[in-house]
């Protein structure tokens, strides 16, 4: 029975390998053409406070958020809601991409100054 079992496992394995290859290939092509230029939004960190503290972005599209840290110490943008974690070095700008997201409120905070560095991203349905 052993060779038959190994054959069964090999067939499953081979199918998965090919499936993975197909995913890689399709995703590679898709990533080139799937998205138009992302709309850009800006956040600033100054005195360990994010400004604006509430940022509205459209639902169901990917957006680019450029975060500028004007403090002289690093901050880490952290959000479980958005599934993002990124260090913003002192005096530098950094970019995060969020979405496409359904409408709702998504909270984030600065890991190094969680008492003051807090904010929300409000995802809103755009009316045509």
């Amino acid at each position: 029975m052993q060779p038959q079992r190994n054959l069964q496992a090999s067939l499953i394995y081979s199918t998965l390998s090919q499936l993975f290859c197909a995913i890689v290939f399709i995703a590679s092509i898709w990533s080139q053409y799937a998205y138009a230029k992302n709309k850009v939004y800006y956040l600033t960190i100054k005195d360990h406070i994010f400004t604006p503290s509430t940022l509205a972005i459209p639902a169901n599209v990917k957006v680019k958020i450029i975060i500028e840290n004007k403090d002289n110490v690093a901050e880490e943008f952290d959000s479980f809601d958005l599934n993002r974690e990124k260090v913003i070095f002192a005096g530098k700008k950094s970019t995060i991409y969020v979405g496409p997201l359904p409408a709702g409120t998504y909270e984030y905070f600065g890991e190094f100054h969680p008492n003051t560095a807090r904010g929300k991203i409000i995802v809103v349905e755009e009316t045509p």
């Binding site: 993975f20 590679s28 979405g99």
Partner: protein, 240 residues
């Protein structure tokens, strides 16, 4: 970080390499169930990690543990050093090997349709002439509060005390990000004649600053063979 064209080219090269390796499969020697890797690297981060894998069949009980120290060297590159202990055939638990691992985050999270990373590992057995090098692609795709993570690794084993061969491993995890502390998942592992499936979970608890404790566990059952073959995996990582 790489640009869009290089990213695509790299992914296509990996596709071809993986397809070639598929035809070179040989018998697996090690424990396939380990950890599903995620492609992300956070700058300025250090970590201590402990992993445990306990595999039970009707014939044997295999136990492997590893302790590691990791550090991100760049915004998109992290390395980790491990010492690995395993229970040997006489039942003694011994230091078995050392390993260095590097994770390279290829794309900014969320920038493209999916996020990509690459893993490199080099392992040296302590008391025998056995070496193992691993490389492979890490893929993660978000669907609202769900994440699909795929790992595809090609492994080369060589040395005087082991048959020189290529091995292949595929790992998958479908995770629901329910709460930071509790993110249930389904995990899937294959490594030549092993096909395993089972539930898992992971979680994180944040302390102040970059300090956080991550944990993950899974209970994987071999599904392609008859007979008992279960693996419990558990990992704890303290990041600071």
């Amino acid at each position: 970080m790489i640009n869009k064209k290089t990213n695509t080219l790299l992914a296509l090269i990996f596709t071809i390499v993986i397809a070639i390796f598929t035809s070179l499969a040989a018998r697996a020697d090690g424990m396939v169930v380990d950890k599903v890797y995620h492609p992300y690297v956070v700058a300025n981060e250090q970590s201590f990690e402990w992993r445990l894998m306990s595999s039970q069949t009707s014939a044997e009980n295999v136990l492997a543990q590893r302790i590691g120290y990791g550090q991100s060297l760049l915004e998109d590159l992290a390395v980790e050093f491990f010492i690995i202990g395993e229970r040997d055939e006489t039942g003694d638990f011994k230091l078995q090997a050392t390993e260095i691992e590097a994770r390279w985050m290829l794309t900014e999270q969320g920038q493209y349709w999916a996020d990509w990373g690459v893993l490199f590992e080099f392992e040296k057995q302590r008391n025998s002439d056995r070496y193992e090098a691993t490389t492979g692609l890490i893929f993660e795709k978000e669907f609202n509060k769900n994440s699909l993570t795929l790992n595809f690794f090609a492994i080369r084993e060589w040395g005087n005390d082991i048959q020189n061969e290529w091995e292949l491993e595929f790992r998958a995890q479908y995770r629901y990000r329910y709460l930071p502390e509790l993110q249930p998942s389904i995990e899937f592992y294959t490594g030549e004649d092993f096909v395993g499936l089972g539930p898992g979970f992971m979680g994180v608890h944040r302390f102040e600053g970059q300090k956080q404790l991550k944990w993950e566990a899974g209970f994987i059952t071999e599904v392609s063979h008859k007979g008992k073959n279960h693996t419990l995996r558990f990992a704890v990582e303290y990041e600071f």
